[in-house]
């Protein structure tokens, strides 16, 4: 790999990754709403139309059931479609094509008809777009069997995970957080903009990253909550608390081992998620440690996640409900103090 590096946003890293995958394999093509001429509402397909033309970079009608269903059919006969559906909140209109077809056809064909497709979408709120454009739904897709679920927190991982997603022979739900992507119309978490090699490389699924080493408490996050955890860890350090921060990177497969090993060392587990709290990611992480060996806990594991409410519009209500570094800091301190 060359040493040429540039700092890229996640959106730029994704469009570069897709471009390289399309060059490498003519079976890769892209379709979705506003992905061609506009380059994607979130900029994740910018430049692809000019480079590859309208056959392989296809604007679709607003017909999610049809074009996601079509991706399943194309994948079944050897294509590798990358499909974008702008907001994860929109998946309700086409859920059948996702959880009954894409996710089940491999199983129902006894493995004879794999569905190698990537379904790319944007998640997350915090910018006043209310409850039909701000959800994460990580847990929903991770709960339903047959799909891999990937959530990058930075541009390096985004590019490498996209390579792994495109060459994977299974449906991959690729979830990009709006606060990280780097759009012109929304602020971006600076820590997500990192050095990205120009070449193709892979970041494996199912390998969490320890993004900050520490010995006192394990903070587990994904997507934007990784950055909140890092910010909280810096604040905790000033209080003499050495936090370890884990970026899950993928929920399916889930790297339970890295989480368990970390908690075995620190004895304290705080999981942070901006998806709904009940029946979700935070409960899964905590129980996966507890069922392996609950004696590792020096104090009860805790979680910070979105309350079980539709996402409100108005700023005071929305900010109240979201996780943030102060909530993480306060909960972590209480855990350290044995409260």
């Amino acid at each position: 790999m060359s040493t040429v590096k540039r700092k890229l946003t996640i959106a730029k890293a994704i469009s570069e990754s897709i471009s390289l995958e399309m060059e490498a394999d003519e079976n890769v093509f892209v379709m979705g709403e506003d992905i061609a001429k506009l380059g994607g509402v979130f900029g994740t397909t910018t430049g692809l139309l000019d480079k590859f033309g309208p056959e392989r970079v296809r604007d679709t009608p607003i017909s999610e059931t049809a074009f996601i269903g079509a991706a399943v059919g194309a994948a079944a006969v050897g294509m590798r479609p990358i499909v974008e559906l702008m907001f994860v909140d929109f998946f309700g209109v086409c859920m059948d094509a996702i959880y009954n077809l894409a996710a089940k056809n491999c199983y129902f064909s006894g493995g004879n008809q794999p569905i190698p497709m990537v379904l790319m979408t944007s998640v997350g709120g915090g910018y006043g777009d209310a409850g039909q454009h701000s959800q994460c739904l990580y847990g929903t897709f991770a709960h339903l069997p047959g799909m891999k679920v990937v959530i990058p927190s930075n541009a390096y991982d985004a590019k490498g995970l996209m390579h792994t997603a495109v060459v994977d022979n299974n449906p991959v739900i690729f979830m990009l957080h709006k606060n990280l992507q780097g759009m012109g119309w929304l602020g971006t978490e600076k820590k997500s903009i990192v050095d990205v090699p120009k070449e193709i490389y892979g970041v494996p699924f199912g390998k969490a990253a320890i993004v900050r080493k520490g010995k006192d408490i394990t903070l587990v996050g994904l997507g934007v909550t990784v950055h909140m955890a890092l910010d909280a860890a810096n604040k905790l350090e000033k209080e003499g608390v050495d936090a370890e921060v884990i970026d899950l990177r993928s929920l399916v497969p889930l790297d339970r081992e890295t989480i368990f090993n970390s908690v075995s060392k620190t004895g304290r587990l705080l999981v942070i998620d901006d998806d709904y709290i009940s029946y979700g990611v935070t409960g899964e992480i905590i129980s996966s440690v507890a069922e392996q060996d609950s004696s590792v806990f020096k104090t009860s594991p805790q979680r910070i996640a979105y309350p079980d409410i539709p996402i409100p519009f108005t700023r005071p209500m929305e900010q109240f409900a979201l996780p943030n570094k102060d909530k993480i800091f306060n909960t972590a301190k209480e855990m350290m103090e044995g409260k």
Partner: protein, 328 residues
């Protein structure tokens, strides 16, 4: 009008095979479910949607298809699978839940996949439409021969997936044909109570594509209409829509009392059973004599009997195999 003897023989043989298959399936299905019907019991548990009466739709269309052409069928898939050339032994073993079934017993009767002949079906109404369009798109993108056909029921023409996919296939000029099997009933709700137009072929106009309605459940008329649509698809002119009047001679599923049918409707349908009717046509037109027909029928009995024998004697999968094949 079709005069090729081989094709006529194939049409009859495939319909006859399909009907006999369903008769054998009905017997097998009812084993262990008497005197008190319980769907969970017997060698073939679960729902069972038999295709008796709808055979002309399958053969009239599939007669024009090769293995490269993809077919997506419905929750009532057996006649279409048989006409498409799905491996009959593996299909039957699948329906019996055996290890040597198409998917090792994971799918069953509503989820049959045979990629070697590009056949698939789904238990969700109209949801074969999108994937069929996707195969058509793949063929077009790769400049490969092969088209895609989605079979749906008349009730499915009120689904979003139908309208979305017809528009998509039309706007992208895909090599795609939608076949609507109009058996007049969506379980217990009649077409007249559910659909705003008497015939769905008129809906083709809203996608700017040709539509045809075929009356009489007649395999030869279906054959001709399918030929027009499939030629159009193969020559890059885009999709077509065909609705076929057909008859559901069985219930929606096994165990359906069909109390919703008007009195006498079933008797009238049985009097129009397409298989004896087509047999008579072949005899009267001098295409085949009694000996020729018997020979075809004997061959079909044997093929189906062999498939059921294979399925019955096949090994069960190990329960733990349930955990395999979620991912490729």
């Amino acid at each position: 009008m079709l005069s090729d003897v081989n094709t006529l023989q194939w049409l009859y043989g495939s319909m006859f095979k399909s009907r006999y298959y369903e008769e054998c399936m009905e017997k097998a299905y009812l084993e262990g479910k008497q005197p008190v019907f319980n769907m969970a019991n017997g060698p073939v548990p679960g729902e069972m949607h038999l295709s008796n009466g709808q055979e002309p739709c399958a053969v009239g269309v599939c007669a024009h298809l090769n293995a490269d052409d993809a077919v997506f069928a419905t929750h009532r898939p057996h006649h279409i699978a048989i006409a498409k050339g799905v491996n009959l032994k593996a299909m039957t073993a699948e329906i019996f839940g055996k290890k040597s079934g198409l998917s090792g017993g994971r799918g069953g009767h509503m989820h049959l996949f045979d990629p070697t002949v590009n056949f698939a079906c789904s238990g969700i109404i109209a949801e074969g439409m999108g994937p069929a369009a996707g195969v058509a798109l793949a063929r077009k993108l790769r400049n490969e021969p092969g088209i895609a056909v989605a079979f749906i029921g008349e009730g499915a023409a009120n689904q979003g997936a139908f309208h979305e996919t017809m528009n998509l296939a039309a706007v992208w000029k895909l090599p795609f044909v939608c076949i609507i099997e109009d058996n007049a009933w969506g379980i217990s709700v009649s077409k007249t109570d559910a659909t705003s137009v008497p015939r769905n072929d008129v809906r083709a106009a809203s996608y700017g594509i040709p539509g045809e309605y075929i009356e009489g459940n007649d395999p030869l008329a279906i054959y001709d209409a399918a030929e027009r649509a499939i030629k159009r698809a193969r020559s890059g002119q885009g999709p077509s829509l065909i609705e076929i009047e057909t008859y559901r001679l069985a219930g929606h599923f096994m165990g359906d009392t069909e109390a919703y049918r008007p009195e006498g409707e079933k008797d009238e349908l049985f009097s129009k059973d397409p298989i004896p009717k087509f047999r008579k046509h072949l005899l009267e037109s001098g295409t085949l004599d009694e000996t020729g027909l018997k020979k075809i029928e004997e061959a079909m009995y044997k093929e189906v009997d062999d498939a059921f024998e294979f399925a019955r004697s096949a090994a069960e999968p190990e329960p733990i195999e349930a955990l395999e094949k979620v991912f490729a």
